[in-house]
């Protein structure tokens, strides 16, 4: 037990440390961004707002070659509107004053500090590989929690000291142990919660989990996490052709006569009619069969909405609110807003921060504990017990390995390394005390 806890701890503590540090910062994203980008975000309300189409027209004038991807009207009267565009392979957000229709500023999404933090937190800035490592670290943290709890569990009739609070007067050795084990126990529930609520976003376990949940009818409806949005119900042949290819207008009249996409102003009107949360974003269709997708992920899970609107008729093709999620989908949605610290505002952020600080303390003190205790030579791992005595633990590991295939996969790798290398090379075997 100790052996597994030690190895897993040494390997994954640095990752958990990084996750806790970046997580602590990311928790306060709303406040931090509000502060850094105040000049972009805040506008002075004056009279009526300019039509969305006029705001987008302004962006088109300023960036004639850009592709317009999204429009976000702004959730309150003091908030600027945003137009997301792709120009020269860069994704930019253009801030527009909705009252004057004028340009406020441009933001390159790769320059956004919070995007960097998120990238470290989600994938260590290493793409898919990073995503899998984070996922593996999160899964192995569960193994650490289980083995750690077993090691911490009071033996015989131990008092509460050294269990629920550290012993300060029993010498350095005991204090070092207590500074790891006692706080670790206290953050266990919070840590487990952050892991379980974070995993559904992960690339491998998460996307499979979401697909299974959606397929069973208990998850998110399709197109929110996985799955495609519906397509327009207008037949392609009835759509008006834009004579862009012809220098002269030699496209037959019958091709010009046809359905044309709704102006975005109608989409905004539909959003108001259907009572969407004001923080919604409109994704603009990029081809002839696409739909306008309106989505909002406000601080509280129960305000979420994803709506698909036919780009020609304005018909609501799908309208998924929180109430339409399955039980699993609802739990995941709550998990996400709690994980991000937005569900209950400041209190939520502070509780999560406390858990993160706890995790930082536990990873550091755990590492320190091992560093101080290990003999000059060797890793300080206890002798490997025979597997037969470890039946319960083995079942547990296999169980976790099945529940989290990445853990299972890594267990197989560990077992192969052990079998092929460690057991055959005397020096390594001695160092690891295997």
């Amino acid at each position: 037990m100790w052996r597994w806890h030690l190895y897993a701890g040494i390997i994954f503590a640095p990752f958990l440390f990084i996750l806790a540090v970046t997580g602590s910062i990311y928790l306060f994203k709303p406040q931090i961004e509000q502060m850094i980008y105040q000049d972009y975000y805040e506008v002075t309300p004056q009279g009526e707002k300019v039509a969305a189409s006029a705001q987008i027209e302004e962006v088109k004038n300023l960036y004639p070659d850009a592709i317009i991807n999204k429009y976000r009207p702004g959730e309150n009267t003091m908030r600027s509107s945003e137009v997301s565009i792709t120009a020269n392979d860069e994704s930019l957000t253009i801030f527009i004053d909705p009252y004057t229709g004028e340009f406020i500023g441009e933001q390159n999404s790769k320059d956004k500090i919070m995007n960097k933090i998120e990238e470290i937190h989600g994938e260590l800035m290493a793409g898919t590989l990073g995503d899998r490592i984070v996922e593996l670290a999160a899964c192995w943290a569960v193994v650490l929690i289980v083995t750690g709890l077993y090691l911490w569990f009071p033996k015989k009739n131990q008092r509460l000291s050294g269990v629920l609070y550290p012993r300060f007067n029993k010498g350095k050795k005991i204090l070092r142990r207590d500074l790891h084990a006692v706080p670790a126990f206290w953050v266990t529930a919070g840590m487990l919660f952050l892991i379980m609520t974070g995993l559904p976003w992960s690339g491998f376990w998460g996307s499979n989990f979401q697909s299974i949940a959606t397929n069973s009818g208990a998850g998110y409806p399709p197109s929110i996490w996985s799955g495609d949005a519906p397509t327009s119900i207008i037949k392609t042949k009835d759509i008006a052709e834009v004579p862009w290819a012809a220098e002269n207008l030699d496209v037959p009249l019958s091709k010009i006569q046809g359905y044309i996409p709704l102006p975005i102003d109608d989409v905004v009107a539909i959003a108001n009619r259907e009572g969407l949360h004001p923080s919604y974003t409109v994704s603009i269709p990029q081809d002839t069969v696409g739909v306008y997708t309106l989505s909002a992920y406000p601080p509280k899970a129960q305000d979420e909405v994803t709506m698909h609107i036919d780009q020609y008729s304005g018909a609501v093709l799908a309208d998924y609110r929180y109430q339409n999620y399955g039980l699993v989908g609802k739990s995941v949605a709550w998990g996400i807003t709690l994980h991000k610290g937005t569900q209950f505002g400041l209190i939520n952020q502070l509780v999560s921060l406390l858990i993160c600080l706890g995790i930082i303390l536990v990873t550091v003190s755990g590492f320190y504990l091992w560093w101080k205790r290990k003999p000059k030579k060797g890793s300080g791992a206890p002798k490997a017990p025979s597997l037969k005595k470890m039946k319960f633990f083995l079942v547990l590991l296999i169980g976790l390995g099945i529940l989290f295939p990445l853990v299972g996969l890594s267990l197989i790798v560990v077992w192969l390394i052990d079998w092929l290398i460690i057991q055959r090379i005397a020096v390594v075997k001695k160092f690891l005390n295997a």
């Binding site: 317009i68 207008i234 006569q257 044309i260 020609y312 093709l317 998924y320 399955g326 197989i412």
Partner: protein, 156 residues
């Protein structure tokens, strides 16, 4: 030990292979809409100063819509010089609603059908031409070319 690893391997791979994709009709498990569908029928060629009939056929949930909550037609010219008020369309039965109209001036026009039935509201709009297009209108149509195409040309 070896046996249990073998079993877990099989389980893992079956999980990997089985879970990756969504079922095709998975949307049926969740809340569904019954959007109103419309087919706006405009005569192939329309001449100015002639009474023309524009129709819309409404269907919903695979059935023709009889007695829709409302069906209104709105017609205007691209340059804004002609604009008709919204007009109630006539219910011809069997899901067909129509409006007869005489338009004096040639050019590029739009029609928007506002319709609603059983909670679904639609406002499809169609572009159509009466007689000949003016130079300005041709220019306007060309300006609407997709942005993606433009940026490709500029890469040279």
């Amino acid at each position: 030990m070896k046996k249990s690893i073998g079993i877990s391997l099989i389980l893992i791979f079956s999980l990997l292979l089985g879970a990756c994709s969504l079922k095709q009709d998975v949307a049926n498990l969740y809340k569904q809409e019954t959007p109103l569908e419309s087919e706006i029928i405009i005569p192939e060629s329309i001449s100015a100063n002639k009474q023309e009939t524009i129709k819309v056929i409404l269907t919903q949930d695979g059935k023709k819509v009889e007695g829709a909550d409302y069906v209104q037609f709105e017609i205007w010219k691209q340059d804004g010089s002609v604009k008709f008020d919204m007009e109630q369309a006539e219910d011809e039965g069997n899901g067909t609603y129509s409006l007869s109209k005489k338009i004096d001036s040639e050019g590029l026009y739009y029609i928007k059908v506002h319709a609603s039935n059983h909670g679904s509201i639609i406002m499809p709009q169609k572009q159509f031409v009466i007689g000949e297009l003016s130079e300005n209108e041709k220019k306007f149509l060309r300006k609407g070319k997709p942005k993606q195409q433009e940026s490709h040309e500029n890469h040279h």
